[in-house]
Every structure is written in structure tokens, then in C-alpha cells.
């Protein structure tokens, strides 16, 4: 009885599970291309592709994280921090 009640309560408290956000097709390729440009030190190209990744899949935290990594590499720490925050808020796992 208690178990059933507990299950029932849990079901009530869970809330609507957010629909999983499916990253738009192709966003992964922009992120990949942007990251490898970043590794090669091609900052302008990395910026162009990672901003495109954010435009294509704004709900994909990987895109924001990659953009944050770029800002960090550019020494723009504050922006990197905010972009990382933007990424974790999309997943709901901010520290």
C-alpha cells in the first residue's frame, strides 16, 4: 500500500518531462568544424561556424559550450562564463 502510494506521489511530483530537444540535423557538423578550426587556431572561422551552430540548433547545449570554449581561447573569460551558463541552463544542470 505504501509502495503504491509512494509511486503515485512520485508520478504526481515529477512534472511534465520536458520533451527531449532534438538537435537540428547538421548542427553537429557545424560544431565539429568549429572545434577543429579552433584547434588549428583559426579563430575567425571557428567563430563563424560556432555562431552558425547556435543559429541552427539554439537548444543544443554543445553549441553554446563550444562557443564558450572559443571565447576562453580568445581570453574573454567573462563571456565564456556566461555562455557556459547559457549551456547548462538548457540542460538544467547548472551548479
Amino acid at each position: 500500500m505504501i509502495v503504491v502510494l509512494a509511486l503515485w506521489l512520485a508520478a504526481c511530483a515529477g512534472g511534465p518531462t520536458p520533451r527531449t530537444t532534438v538537435p537540428a540535423e547538421g548542427a553537429g557538423r557545424w560544431i565539429e568544424a568549429g572545434r577543429s578550426a579552433l584547434e588549428r587556431g583559426e579563430m575567425v572561422r571557428a567563430e563563424r561556424w560556432l555562431e552558425q551552430a547556435v543559429r541552427v540548433a539554439p537548444r543544443d547545449p554543445r553549441a553554446w559550450r563550444a562557443l564558450a570554449d572559443l571565447r576562453q581561447a580568445q581570453g574573454r573569460w567573462e563571456e565564456a562564463r556566461r555562455l557556459r551558463l547559457r549551456a547548462c541552463r538548457l540542460v538544467g544542470d547548472c551548479p
Binding site: 512534472g15 563563424r48 543559429r55 556566461r82 547548472c94
Partner: protein
């Protein structure tokens, strides 16, 4: 005495002669200085050229083959089997093959590439770039959408002499000035001949001007035809020839000469004329087209090939004949050219820009970094965020929306659309006629915002520990308090609704509950919250501000809602991606930037309440255009006396603001739901928006509550609703319907009384 007079006379004449020579010398020196300084310095103020956003092709891009073909043709690509050179494309089965042109973007030059595209069910499925299997996609050059012009409104596209087809130079010399390469600026004989011919005819039938004189006339002088001016022109022509060689003068002529009119924009030079009349580069023109351009020199308006094709054709054929007679072309080439059609393309978009409201925003954003003279004189190339598809939808939304809500045509409107994640402005409509370059209401109409301001107050409350279920009292202010603030607000329906849960007070836009909430929080708190949302204007810190007694522009409202839409990260509306100089060298980039975020839980909760506005509140009518499953968040706004109607809100991918009102501030009876919401709904519906699915931040839990008292509910409560709560604010008590203790009889009686007392 008598003998002395002639000597005096002689001396006087000598002095006069000396003075005259000195004056003449001074005058010539002055002209010489004018000629040189204008010719040496930068000769033309080149307007900035403004582009829309580039078209990016990648697997999954929402673009049909037909739309891509339209774009390609708009930027001057042509169909050609085998895509032999850059700027060509061809159909291939259900796909497309494309040979892109080299193009200097704000972040570097994209080299020409061969690309194969395949579609599947309306979506682009495959994008393969030859030689670059890893390329994530490819950019196509953007549409040119206008210029930022100096006062003279002259537009030109500079060409270098070595890039000009020799045929054009030959034809020009043959028709306008046969002796050009031999004379020194003027041809006295030709002037005499022309004067004689004009005298006999009794009017001007012949001109003796050389190309050099024509250049001087265009370059330095006004249009009057006086003898003095003629003399000045001749002297200046001689001076010009004395200082500069023929190629330099010819190149200046080719770029200076006036060749047509496009609304307020004057078309100067052969480079721009080629684009304006034929949609092509000068180097790509055939003999017939080159001859038509030369024909236009005599009178661009009289021989306008669009308005007077017969005249233009006759003059063109005459030019072709002169070219043949001079041996520039042979008989066969002349025949082919005479048989060719005029080849003029349909008139391109009229005037300075088809998107004056958007270009106005671009200009203002760039004014922070550039001087006005740089914007209008240096030929900067400006890459913007405008999305022509979204702009077209916004224009249709405004036109059809206004036609439906204002059949008399008295009202004005403004509408802005931006990208939810990046803040990039995709479309701006500044009035009923989107082509009219006058008053830009999207930026400059500062009007009372009414209830659009409420989400800021409710956000402040949620940050302060209120919940969506907190009961707010929707009842008139006690008389003492009303007297103290000198103002007695009313609800739109004139009724008081008793205790209502906070989210419903916002969803139904109850004024009395809102003012009481505001009095509890204080007006300073509202002002401070608005500032964090990105509204930086000085606002009147009076209680009337709770109901939106503040004048803001649609752009300022866009900023406010953009912050809410972007999960609380202030993201300034941005219209410019980057700038290059006129040679395509990168000058500036404007990368994506976000500000310090607002508290995540409060933003999530207020977004939930804004979704309730559309689901069950004052924004319900949106269901007519947008499916409720999209869960749009929005808010209606109506100013006092119904002079201004607003709707602002966001979907999963777009933020938009619509305003409707009268310029004279006289319109009455407007409401946000009936007058502004339809424009918003029509526009967004045409864009097939993504559903809004806010992600709950950690520390948010969902609980069933009874809206009547804001206490926990279970399935025994017929009216129960499920609401998100920030951890630690979940009500602990159960509502009476869920077996909780009913309030004591005296408490219920007191509540009943309280709801009916003022």
C-alpha cells in the same frame, strides 16, 4: 597740361590691363586649385552598401529548391548547363548543382566552390562541397538590400579603366567625342561649328562639348547654360588636361557620368548602370547592351529604355551604326547587335532601399562606431541580420492584419521580429507602408506600453519569493491609499475578481491585483527589474508605472521580451554582423554576446505565466493563427483610452513585438488582443515557428494546486491546476477540496466581506 593727359591715360590703361591680367591669373589659379583638389582627393562619396544575411546551406536547412533558385537569380547567378563558371547553377534530377562565386564576407573571402544539393520532402538533405567532404555547409552571397546615402543620393559602382570593355570606350569616343585622344580639352572648331548650327536653327541642336568638358560640367559645375559658365568649363577642361593624362580623365568620366534615376537614387557611372539596367557586371555585357549604355549618355531620362523603349532602341541602333562605321565592329556583329532585344531587366527594387525601417536601425547601430561621413562616403560594405523571408512575412502580416482590424485605413503599425537565441533582428516594419522611408515607428514611436510592462513586475515578485499560486487581491484600493497615490485604477472589464492566483492575475491582466502587488513591492523595484531586462530609459517612478504609464518604443519592448525569451540572458537586438571596407577587407565583426543572466527560476516561472496568457488569458485569440501546442508565451498591452494596442511574445525560435495606434494619438477603443495580436499572429504563423519548451532549472518542482486559495490540491479538486514552484516555496497546506482544514466560519465570513468592500 594737355600733353600730360594722354600719359595719364596710358598709365591708367596699363594699370587696368595689369589688374585685369592679375585678376584673370588669379581666377585661373583659383580654378586650377579647384580642379586639382577635387580630382586628387577622393573624388566620390560612395554610399555604404547594405546586405541581408547570407544564405547558409546545410543538411536540414529549411529552404526549398524553388526558394534557393529565386535567391540565386536575385544575386545574379545564371542557369548554365555544366556550371562552367562561378555564378552558375543547373537543376540535377530533384536537386541542384551550383558553382558559387568568390565573395568577400565580413569575416573573410569565400572562394568559388562546386556544390551538389539534394532535397527530400521540402528539406535540404545533402550538401556536398567538391573537394571539402568535411565542410558543414556553404554560404551563398547575400542579397543587396540598399545603401546608406549622403545628401546628394548619388550611387555608383566604381570601375577601373582596365576592367572596362574596350568596345565601350570605342563607342563612347565614336559617339561623344571623336577627337578625344587628340585634343587638349576643348575643340574650338567644334564649338564654332555647333554655335553656327544652333544659331541657324534658333535653338540648341548641337553640342561642341568634349568628354573632358562633359566631365568638368558633371564634376564641378551646376546645370546652367550661360556664357560665363561655358567659359569656365572650357578653362577648367584645359587645366584638367594639362595636369592629367587621358586614361585618368576617361576613367573619371566613366565613373562620374549620370545615367539614370531610381526613385530618390541617382545612378552614376557605367559600372552601376550595367547592374541597374541589365542586372550584370559591366564586363559581362554584349555589344548591344554596351551600345545602349552609350546611347543613354545624351539623355538618361529621354532615352530611358524602360519608359521609352522605342526611342532607346533607335538611339542604340544609331550608336551601333557609328561603331560599325568606325570599324569597331564588323557588319555581321552590327547586324546581330541590331537584332538583339534591349535586354533590360525588370525594374529592380525602387529607391534607396525597400527596407527603410531596417536600414535605419542598421545606420543607428553603426553610428556608435562610425562617423556619419564614413557611413555615407567610404563605400563600406555592411552585412546585416535581415532575413528577407521573415521580412516579407512581417510585411504581409502587417498589411493583412491592418486591413482586417482597420478597414478605414486610419491606423499605423510597427512590427519587429528577432531570433530568440541570438537577438539578431530578422525583420522591421516601420509603418503601414513598409517602403515609405519616413517616420520609423518601430524605433521612434514612443508610446504608453500598458500591460506589456506587467511581466517585469511579476518577475520581481517571483524573485522576491512569491509563487504563481500566491493569491493576489483584485479589489479597488482602499480609499485612503487611493487618495495617497492620487489615482484609482480600474480593471478593463470594470469588475473586481476577488482573490486570484498570481499567474491568473497576469494571464488576465487584472489591473487591481497588479497595482496591489506593485504597492507591496515598491515602484523602485519595478524600475530596477526593467533595467536588468534591458530597458535603460529613465522611467517615471510613480505607481501608475505598474500599469505601464511609460512611453517606450517597439524596439525597447523587443529588448525586454528578448531577455525573457533567452532564458533571462540580456541579448541586445543586433542588426549588424560585420563590416568591410569597399575593397572587401574586414573592418569589424559583431559577434554574439550575452549579458549577465537573471535568476533562472523566476524567469522560468514568469514564462509559464506568459504561456498562460495565450492558453487561457487575454492572448487566447492567438489560437486562431497558431496551434496551442506551440505553447507561445506572450502579453497583450492596451494604453489608457485604447490609443495604443500592443502584443509582444515569443515562440521556440522567434521573438516579436507588434504595435498598432494612430500617429495623431486620437484613435480610441483599441485593445492589444483585438488590434495588435492579429498582426503578430499572422506574421508568426507564416514562419512556422518552433514550439516553446522552456527547460525547468534545477530546484523547480511541479505541484497540483487549487487556484481558489493557492493551496495544494489532489484529484478531488475539480479546478486544480499544475504549477511549477521554486523549491522552498511550495505550499505545505492542502486546500479544503483535498481534505485540508476549511477556514473557520468567521474567517470565511471576513473574506466574503473583504471581497465586497472597497
Amino acid at each position: 597740361m594737355k600733353a600730360g593727359v594722354p600719359r595719364h591715360w596710358r598709365r591708367g590703361v596699363a594699370v587696368l590691363a595689369l589688374l585685369a591680367v592679375t585678376a584673370l591669373g588669379g581666377w585661373v589659379a583659383w580654378l586650377d586649385q579647384q580642379v586639382q583638389s577635387a580630382f586628387e582627393g577622393r573624388r566620390w562619396a560612395l554610399p555604404a552598401q547594405v546586405y541581408a544575411r547570407p544564405l547558409t546551406l546545410y543538411p536540414g536547412a529549411p529552404i526549398s529548391r524553388k526558394d534557393l533558385e529565386t535567391h540565386l537569380e536575385a544575386v545574379g547567378y545564371r542557369r548554365a548547363a555544366g556550371i562552367p563558371r562561378p555564378g552558375t547553377f543547373e537543376r540535377l534530377g530533384s536537386g541542384l548543382r551550383l558553382h558559387t562565386r568568390a565573395f568577400a564576407f565580413w569575416d573573410g573571402v569565400d572562394a568559388p566552390r562546386r556544390v551538389v544539393l539534394a532535397w527530400s520532402g521540402g528539406r535540404l538533405e545533402r550538401v556536398s562541397v567538391q573537394g571539402e567532404p568535411e565542410a558543414p555547409g556553404v554560404r551563398i552571397e547575400p542579397r543587396h538590400i540598399g545603401g546608406i546615402f549622403p545628401a546628394a543620393r548619388e550611387d555608383r559602382l566604381l570601375v577601373r579603366l582596365q576592367d572596362v570593355p574596350p568596345e565601350l570606350v570605342g563607342a563612347l569616343v565614336a559617339v561623344e567625342d571623336r577627337e578625344f585622344f587628340r585634343h587638349h580639352g576643348v575643340r574650338p572648331l567644334a564649338i564654332v561649328r555647333a554655335a553656327w548650327a544652333n544659331l541657324r536653327a534658333g535653338r540648341v541642336v548641337q553640342g561642341g562639348s568634349t568628354l573632358t568638358q562633359q566631365l568638368v560640367k558633371n564634376f564641378y559645375l551646376d546645370r546652367r547654360r550661360t556664357l560665363g559658365r561655358k567659359l569656365k568649363e572650357a578653362v577648367m577642361a584645359l587645366l584638367l588636361e594639362a595636369h592629367y593624362d587621358k586614361p585618368a580623365i576617361l576613367e573619371a568620366y566613366l565613373n562620374e557620368i549620370y545615367l539614370g534615376q531610381d526613385g530618390a537614387r541617382a545612378i552614376h557611372g557605367f559600372g552601376l548602370a550595367a547592374r541597374f539596367y541589365f542586372g550584370r557586371d559591366l564586363a559581362d555585357l554584349d555589344t548591344a547592351r554596351l551600345a545602349l549604355l552609350v546611347a543613354l549618355v545624351k539623355g538618361p531620362s529621354y532615352y530611358d529604355p524602360r519608359r521609352h523603349p522605342e526611342r532607346a532602341r533607335a538611339r542604340r541602333d544609331w550608336v551601333i551604326e557609328r561603331m560599325r562605321a568606325d570599324g569597331l565592329i564588323d557588319d555581321h556583329q552590327a547586324l546581330v547587335a541590331r537584332n538583339a532585344p534591349l535586354g533590360v531587366v525588370a525594374r529592380p527594387r525602387r529607391g534607396l532601399t525597400p527596407y527603410p525601417a531596417f536600414v535605419d536601425l542598421v545606420r543607428r547601430q553603426l553610428r556608435r562606431d562610425y562617423r556619419e561621413s564614413d557611413l555615407t562616403g567610404e563605400g563600406l560594405r555592411i552585412f546585416t541580420t535581415l532575413d528577407p523571408t521573415v521580412q516579407a512575412a512581417a510585411e504581409v502580416g502587417v498589411r493583412e492584419g491592418l486591413a482586417a482590424v482597420d478597414p478605414q485605413g486610419h491606423l499605423q503599425a510597427a512590427l519587429l521580429v528577432s531570433d530568440r537565441a541570438t537577438g539578431e533582428v530578422l525583420a522591421v516594419v516601420g509603418g503601414r507602408d513598409p517602403r515609405y522611408p519616413g517616420f520609423n515607428r518601430a524605433l521612434d514611436a514612443r508610446r504608453p506600453v500598458g500591460s506589456l510592462i506587467k511581466p517585469a513586475l511579476y518577475l520581481a515578485a517571483l524573485e522576491a519569493g512569491y509563487t504563481l499560486a500566491t493569491p493576489l487581491r483584485d479589489a479597488p484600493l482602499p480609499p485612503a491609499e487611493a487618495r495617497a497615490v492620487g489615482w484609482s485604477p480600474r480593471n478593463y472589464d470594470g469588475r473586481a475578481h476577488g482573490d486570484v492566483p498570481l499567474y491568473r492575475a497576469l494571464a488576465h491582466s487584472y489591473n487591481l491585483a497588479t497595482v496591489r502587488l506593485g504597492m507591496e513591492l515598491g515602484v523602485d523595484r519595478l524600475v530596477e527589474t526593467l533595467r536588468r531586462l534591458g530597458v535603460h530609459r529613465e522611467l517615471p517612478a510613480y505607481p501608475a508605472l505598474f500599469l505601464g504609464a511609460a512611453n517606450l518604443s517597439p524596439l525597447e519592448i523587443l529588448q525586454m521580451y528578448q531577455t525573457l525569451a533567452a532564458e533571462g540572458f540580456p541579448t541586445p537586438p543586433k542588426a549588424v554582423l560585420g563590416v568591410t571596407d569597399r575593397a572587401g577587407r574586414p573592418l569589424a565583426r559583431y559577434p554574439l554576446a550575452v549579458g549577465d543572466p537573471l535568476e533562472a527560476k523566476a524567469v522560468f516561472l514568469v514564462t509559464h505565466a506568459l504561456q498562460a496568457v495565450v492558453r487561457e488569458g487575454t492572448g487566447r485569440a492567438l489560437a486562431r493563427w497558431l496551434d496551442p501546442s506551440l505553447a507561445v508565451a506572450g502579453k497583450t498591452g492596451t494604453s489608457n483610452d485604447g490609443r495604443d494596442a500592443w502584443f509582444a511574445g515569443f515562440t521556440g525560435d522567434k521573438v516579436a513585438v507588434a504595435w498598432v495606434g494612430g500617429d495623431d494619438n486620437q484613435a480610441t477603443g483599441l485593445t492589444g488582443a483585438r488590434h495588435a495580436l492579429p498582426l503578430w499572429g499572422r506574421t508568426l504563423a507564416a514562419l512556422h515557428p518552433q514550439p516553446l519548451e522552456p527547460v525547468p532549472p534545477p530546484g523547480v518542482e511541479w505541484v497540483w494546486v487549487d487556484p481558489a486559495g493557492g493551496l495544494r490540491a489532489d484529484r478531488r479538486c475539480p479546478e486544480r491546476v499544475r504549477l511549477p514552484f521554486a523549491q522552498g516555496t511550495v505550499p505545505s497546506d492542502y486546500a479544503p477540496c483535498a481534505g485540508g482544514a476549511r477556514p473557520a466560519l468567521w474567517r470565511r465570513g471576513w473574506n466574503w466581506l473583504r471581497e465586497r468592500l472597497p
